[in-house]
C-alpha cells in the first residue's frame, strides 16, 4: 500500500500541475477575450467591417472607392513545388520569378507574395488551384481603396494607408465622415458616407494636361493651375504638378505628394497689385483718374542709397488704369504714398492674406503678412507690388472672389455635399461669405482695370480671346530662397490671375509656374497663354456666352461636324472652307495676329496658302 501511495501522490502531483496550467491558460483567454479587448492589435483590424464611403466629383464620377481585392500569400509548409509555384505565380502576377522563389524558400511559415491583386489575377489563381496547382498559395480578402482616375485630383483626394485610414487630402480631413467610428455593430458592415467634391473631372483633366505640358515646356520645378467658381467659391479644378498616383502613393516622393496650392508659400509679385491697389481705391488713397509721373525709377530722398524700385521701361505719365495695364512698379509705389502702412496692412488682411482659407485640406499654410511694426521704410511700396509677403496659390484665387462678388470675400470650398449611404444629403456646402472687403464700385473698377490689361499694350494681352472680355493680371516674382534668406537671381515665379467674363465673372483661373527655365521667366509669357487655353476650354464647357459662338450653333447652319484642329507647320495652311470654330484657336498663336471678318466659313485668305510662316505677321480671313 505504501507503494501505491507513492504512485497516487505522483499522479495527483501531475494532475495538480495540469490543473494549474489549465487555469493559467484559461486566465490568459479571459484576459484577451473579455477584459483586455481594446488592445493594440484589435485596433487596426476588423471585428467590425466598415466600408469606406466613395468620393465623387461634382457630376458623380468616382474619384475613390472601396474595393475588395485579394492578397496572395503562401503558407510554406503546404507549398509542395516551390519552383513550379514560383513560375506559375510569376506568370499570373507578372512578377519576378526569382523574387517569388526567394520568398518561398526564404521563409518557413507565412509570407506575403503580392498585395491587392486585380480580380482577373485572383480568378486565374483560383482556376490554377482547381487544377491542383499552386498548393500552399492562398488568397486573402484585403479591403483597399482604388482611385480610378489615378493622378487626377490626387492632391485634393489624398490617399489612405494600408489599414484604410486617410493620410492626406479629403481622405484625411473627412476620415470620420467617410469611415465613421460611431454606431459600429459587430458582425455588420457599416457603410461610410459619400463625399461629393466641387471638382469637375473634365475641367481637372484639362487643367492637369495644361499644367503638365507647361511643366515640360518651361522645364519648371512645379506648375499650379486652379479653377474656381467665381460666384460661390467652389473649386472646379486643382492641378498641381508634379503630382502622384494615390493608388501607389508610396512610390512617390514628398515633393510629388506635396499639395502645393495650400502648402507652398511664395511671393506673388505683380498679381498682388490688384489687391493692394484695390485697397488704396477702397480707402480713397487713390482714385480712378489720378495721374502718376514716372521715369522708370522710384527712390524717395529718404531712401538715400537703398536700391530703388524700377520699371523695365520709362512709361512716363500715366493714369491709374495704365499703371495697372503696364503693371508699373513705380506707379504703384507712388500710389502707395497716399495710404498709411496700417491701412494697407488692414486692407490686405481683410482679403484673407496671412491666414489659411480653411478650405478643408490638411497642412494649409497661413502665408506671411507682417504687421507694420515689422516693416522697414521700404516695405509699404514693396508689399504693394507683391513682395515681402508670402501667399499660397489658393489664397490668391480665393481673394479674387472679392472682385466677382461686389467686394465680398468668399470662402473656397472643396466638398460640395456629404451623402449618407442611403442617399440622404447630410450636409450641403453653401456659398460662404467671409466679409465685405471692398465697395461694389471698387470691385467693378478693379475688374475693369484687369479687363483692359488684356488689351493691346497690357501685360495680360496673351490671355485675350475674341468674343469675350477677360480680366487678368500677370506677375513675375523672384523666388525668395528660404535657405539663404535672400532672393534668388535665377529662380522666378511667373503667374497669371484671370476671371471671365470681366463684367460679371463666372470663373476664376489662377496659374503659377515655379522656376520656369525655358525661353522666358515672365508670368505674361509662361502662364498667360496657358490661362487662355484653359479659358478656351472653360468658356464653352461652362456655357459662358461668347460672341461668335452663337452663329455656329444657329439652326439654319449645316450640322456641325467636329472641326479638325488646325496645325501650323512651316507654311501657312489653307484655311478656306473651314468653319469659324476651327480657326478660333488661331487666335491663340503668339507670333501671328489673325483678323477674322464675318461669320460662317472661310472664303478668302490673305496671304495665300503656302506662304512661308516666317514671312507672315498677319492673316486676314473673310468668312461667308
Amino acid at each position: 500500500m505504501l507503494e501505491t501511495g507513492k504512485l497516487h501522490r505522483r499522479i495527483w502531483f501531475i494532475s495538480l500541475s495540469v490543473a494549474i496550467a489549465g487555469v493559467f491558460v484559461s486566465a490568459q483567454y479571459a484576459r484577451v477575450m473579455v477584459f483586455d479587448r481594446g488592445g493594440a492589435p484589435a485596433h487596426s483590424t476588423t471585428p467590425y467591417t466598415v466600408e469606406r464611403g466613395a468620393i465623387l466629383d461634382r457630376n458623380g464620377r468616382i474619384l475613390a472607392i472601396q474595393t475588395q481585392l485579394y492578397t496572395v500569400s503562401a503558407w510554406i509548409p503546404n507549398v509542395t513545388e516551390p519552383q513550379e509555384t514560383a513560375s506559375d505565380l510569376a506568370r499570373i502576377l507578372d512578377d519576378n520569378e526569382g523574387r517569388i522563389l526567394d520568398l518561398l524558400e526564404g521563409s518557413r511559415d507565412f509570407v506575403y507574395i503580392q498585395r491587392r491583386i486585380t480580380p482577373t489575377r485572383s480568378e486565374e489563381i483560383r482556376a490554377s488551384q482547381h487544377e491542383g496547382r499552386l498548393r500552399g498559395i492562398q488568397l486573402e480578402p484585403d479591403s483597399g481603396r482604388t482611385y480610378p482616375n489615378g493622378r487626377l485630383g490626387s492632391h485634393v483626394i489624398g490617399h489612405v494607408g494600408t489599414d484604410n485610414n486617410g493620410l492626406d487630402g479629403v481622405e484625411y480631413t473627412y476620415d470620420s465622415v467617410l469611415s465613421p467610428s460611431e454606431g459600429r455593430v459587430r458582425g455588420e458592415t457599416l457603410y461610410g458616407n459619400q463625399l461629393v467634391l466641387t471638382i469637375d473631372l473634365n475641367i481637372q483633366q484639362t487643367t492637369d494636361r495644361l499644367a503638365r505640358e507647361t511643366l515640360e515646356r518651361e522645364n519648371a520645378d512645379s506648375v499650379m493651375l486652379l479653377a474656381m467658381d467665381a460666384k460661390n467659391g467652389e473649386i472646379l479644378s486643382w492641378s498641381s504638378v508634379p503630382d502622384y498616383d494615390p493608388n501607389r502613393f508610396s512610390d512617390f516622393n514628398i515633393e510629388e505628394r506635396r499639395n502645393r496650392p495650400i502648402r507652398m508659400m511664395y511671393e506673388p509679385g505683380s498679381v498682388f497689385k490688384v489687391f493692394s491697389v484695390a485697397t488704396m481705391l477702397n480707402t480713397g488713397a487713390v482714385s480712378d483718374g489720378d495721374m502718376f509721373e514716372t521715369d522708370g525709377i522710384y527712390r524717395p530722398e529718404s531712401w538715400r542709397n537703398a536700391s530703388p524700385i524700377t520699371d523695365i521701361a520709362n512709361y512716363g505719365t500715366m493714369d491709374l488704369r495704365r499703371v495697372m495695364e503696364r503693371s508699373s512698379n513705380v506707379g504703384v509705389a507712388y500710389a502707395s504714398e497716399g495710404i498709411s502702412e496700417q491701412e494697407l496692412y488692414r486692407g490686405l488682411k481683410r482679403f484673407g492674406f496671412g491666414e489659411a482659407t480653411g478650405v478643408g485640406l490638411s497642412g494649409e499654410q497661413n502665408g506671411i503678412l507682417y504687421p507694420p511694426e515689422r516693416w522697414s521704410y521700404r516695405s509699404k511700396p514693396t508689399v504693394a507690388m507683391g513682395q515681402e509677403i508670402g501667399v499660397t496659390a489658393l489664397q490668391i484665387a480665393a481673394a479674387a472672389t472679392t472682385f466677382s462678388n461686389d467686394g465680398v470675400l468668399l470662402q473656397p470650398s472643396i466638398v460640395r455635399r456629404i451623402v449618407s449611404p442611403d442617399g440622404r444629403v447630410i450636409e450641403e456646402s453653401e456659398r460662404t461669405a467671409v466679409r465685405e472687403v471692398l465697395t461694389p464700385s471698387v470691385a467693378a473698377q478693379m475688374r475693369d482695370y484687369m479687363r483692359t490689361s488684356t488689351h493691346d499694350g497690357g501685360t495680360g494681352r496673351r490671355v485675350r480671346l475674341n468674343g469675350i472680355e477677360i480680366a487678368a493680371k500677370t506677375g513675375t516674382a523672384e523666388f525668395f530662397d528660404p535657405e539663404i534668406r535672400a532672393y534668388s537671381d535665377e529662380k522666378f515665379i511667373g503667374s497669371t490671375l484671370a476671371m471671365f467674363p470681366s463684367d460679371d465673372p463666372e470663373v476664376i483661373v489662377y496659374m503659377v509656374v515655379e522656376n520656369p527655365q525655358g525661353d522666358f521667366i515672365w508670368g505674361e509669357r509662361v502662364a498667360a497663354p496657358v490661362v487662355r487655353e484653359a479659358a478656351q476650354f472653360l468658356i464653352p464647357y461652362l456655357g459662358i456666352e461668347r460672341e461668335g459662338d452663337r452663329r455656329i450653333a444657329a439652326p439654319e447652319q449645316v450640322q456641325i461636324q467636329s472641326p479638325g484642329a488646325v496645325e501650323i507647320g512651316g507654311e501657312l495652311p489653307d484655311f478656306r472652307g473651314l468653319p469659324r470654330r476651327s480657326i478660333l484657336q488661331l487666335e491663340a498663336m503668339d507670333e501671328i495676329s489673325v483678323e477674322v471678318h464675318g461669320s460662317g466659313w472661310v472664303k478668302t485668305q490673305i496671304p495665300e496658302p503656302g506662304t512661308p510662316i516666317e514671312e507672315v505677321s498677319r492673316v486676314i480671313l473673310e468668312l461667308e
Binding site: 500500500m1 507503494e3 501505491t4 507513492k6 504512485l7 497516487h8 505522483r10 499522479i11 495527483w12 501531475i14 494532475s15 495540469v18 490543473a19 496550467a21 489549465g22 493559467f24 491558460v25 484559461s26 490568459q28 483567454y29 479571459a30 484577451v32 477575450m33 473579455v34 479587448r37 488592445g39 493594440a40 492589435p41 484589435a42 483590424t45 476588423t46 471585428p47 467591417t49 500569400s73 503558407w75 510554406i76 509548409p77 503546404n78 507549398v79 509542395t80 516551390p82 521563409s107 518557413r108 511559415d109 507565412f110 509570407v111 506575403y112 483560383r126 488551384q129 482547381h130 500552399g136 492562398q138 488568397l139 486573402e140 480578402p141 459587430r186 458582425g187
Partner: protein, 380 residues
C-alpha cells in the same frame, strides 16, 4: 503475495466510464462542427466542395471509432506480447519517412509516409506505442527502480531514439513533447527525483542548442516575445489568432459566423483551429471546451489511480497525459501563452493520423476503465 501478474485474478467488468465517454463524444462532436466551420471556406476555395475537409476527416473518425471499440474490449495482457513488434514496426515506419519515394517531404519536414494512396504520419503512432511500451516496461521494472542501469536506462534509450528520429523529421515540438511525456511517465512510475535533476542539467542546454539551430524556430520564439516584430511573417498567426480571440469576446460571433478563417488565419483548420472556437463560441465556448478536457483529465487520472495494476495505471496515465498535454499546449499557443508549436489539438485539428490515434488512445482508456481487477494489493 505474488509480485507478477496473476492469471487467476478475478476481473470485474465495471462497464465503461460513462462520464469519460460522454466527454469524448462531446469533444468529438464539437471538434467536427468547428472543423467544418473553419474549413468550408478554404475547402470551397480549393476544391469547390465545402465538405471536402469534413468528409476526409469523417472517414478517419469512423475508422477510428471502430478501432477504438475493438481495442476497448481486447485483453491488454495479450496486447503486451506484441509491444516489441509494435515498437519495431513504429521504428521501421519512422525510418521509412526518410526513404525517397515512400516518405514525403513537405518543405523540409519529413513527417509523412505515403502508403496505399493515403499519407500517414508515423510520429502519431509512435506517441501511442511509446506510452504503451513505457507503461509495460516501467511496470515490469518496478521492483528495481533503484537500479537505474537496468530499470531506467533501456526505456530511456528507446525514448531518446524515437525522440531523435522525430527531431530529424524536423518536428522539434513533437520530439520535445514525446520526450517530456516519457519523462512524466518515468516520474509517475517512481523514478527517483535526483535523476530528473541530473537530466535537466545535461539535456537542458542540448535542447536549447537544438531549438536555436533552426531559423524558423528562433523566429517563432521572437514572434512569441514580440508578435508585431514581423507581422507579415512568424508573428502573423499569433496576431491573427489574437484578433480572432478579441473578435470572439465573451459570447462569440456564433458558430459559422467568424471571419478570421476566411483566409486571414493560415492553417486555421489544423494547428490554429482553437482560434475559430474562440471567435465563434466566445470565451464561454473556450471555457466549455477547456472544461470538457478537464473532465477528460479528471476521469483519465482517476482511472489511472484506480486501475487494477501498475501497467494499466501507467497506461491510463500516459494516454491521458498524451491527449491532455497536446490539448493544453495547443490551446496555450493559440492563446499566446507559449511560443508557437506544431502540436495539433486532439479531436479538433484536421489530420487523419492524429484523429485515428486519439480515438485509439480513447479506446484503450475505456479498456482500462472497464477492466479493473477486484481488490487492492494487486499492484505489483
Amino acid at each position: 503475495m505474488s509480485h507478477s501478474f496473476s492469471a487467476e485474478r478475478v476481473e470485474v467488468d465495471r462497464g465503461y466510464d460513462r462520464i469519460l465517454l460522454t466527454a469524448m463524444m462531446l469533444l468529438l462532436g464539437v471538434g467536427l462542427a468547428v472543423l467544418f466551420s473553419s474549413s468550408f471556406f478554404r475547402s470551397e476555395l480549393l476544391f469547390a466542395d465545402p465538405f471536402r475537409f469534413l468528409t476526409g476527416q469523417l472517414l478517419w473518425v469512423v475508422v477510428g471509432c471502430v478501432v477504438a471499440a475493438l481495442v476497448s474490449t481486447i485483453s491488454l495482457e495479450r496486447v503486451q506480447r506484441f509491444i516489441p513488434h509494435a515498437l519495431g514496426i513504429s521504428l521501421v515506419l519512422m525510418i521509412l519517412t526518410f526513404v525517397p519515394g515512400i516518405g514525403t517531404s513537405i518543405h523540409g519536414a519529413r513527417r509523412w509516409i505515403f502508403l496505399f494512396g493515403r499519407s500517414f504520419q508515423p510520429s502519431e503512432l509512435v506517441k501511442v506505442v511509446l506510452v504503451f511500451y513505457l507503461a509495460y516496461l516501467l511496470a515490469r521494472k518496478h521492483e528495481i527502480m533503484d537500479d537505474p542501469v537496468n530499470a531506467l536506462l533501456p526505456p530511456f534509450l528507446v525514448l531518446a531514439l524515437f525522440s531523435t528520429l522525430i527531431y530529424l523529421q524536423n518536428d522539434f515540438s513533437t520530439s520535445v513533447f514525446v520526450m517530456l511525456l516519457g519523462l512524466v511517465m518515468f516520474f509517475v512510475a517512481g523514478a527517483p527525483i535526483r535523476y530528473f535533476l541530473g537530466l535537466l542539467m545535461t539535456v537542458g542546454p542540448l535542447g536549447l542548442i537544438l531549438l536555436l539551430s533552426r531559423e524558423h524556430r528562433v523566429n517563432r520564439l521572437l514572434a512569441y516575445i514580440e508578435p508585431a516584430f514581423d507581422p507579415a511573417g512568424s508573428g502573423y498567426q499569433i496576431l491573427a489568432a489574437e484578433r480572432a480571440l478579441i473578435a470572439g469576446g465573451l459570447w462569440g460571433q456564433g458558430i459559422g459566423m467568424g471571419t478570421q478563417k476566411f483566409g486571414r488565419l493560415p492553417e486555421v483548420h489544423s494547428d490554429f483551429i482553437f482560434a475559430v472556437v474562440a471567435e465563434e463560441l466566445g470565451f464561454v465556448g473556450v471555457l466549455a471546451v477547456i472544461g470538457l478536457f478537464a473532465v477528460f483529465a479528471w476521469r483519465g487520472f482517476v482511472i489511472a489511480a484506480n486501475a487494477g495494476d501498475r501497467f494499466r495505471s501507467y497506461l491510463a496515465f500516459g494516454l491521458t497525459t498524451l491527449i491532455l498535454g497536446q490539448a493544453l499546449l495547443n490551446i496555450a499557443v493559440v492563446g499566446g501563452a507559449v511560443p508557437a508549436t506544431g502540436l495539433p489539438l486532439p479531436f479538433f485539428s484536421s489530420g487523419g493520423s492524429a484523429m485515428l490515434m486519439t480515438l485509439i488512445a480513447c479506446g484503450l482508456l475505456m479498456n482500462v476503465s472497464r477492466h479493473n481487477p477486484d481488490g487492492a494489493g494487486e499492484y505489483g
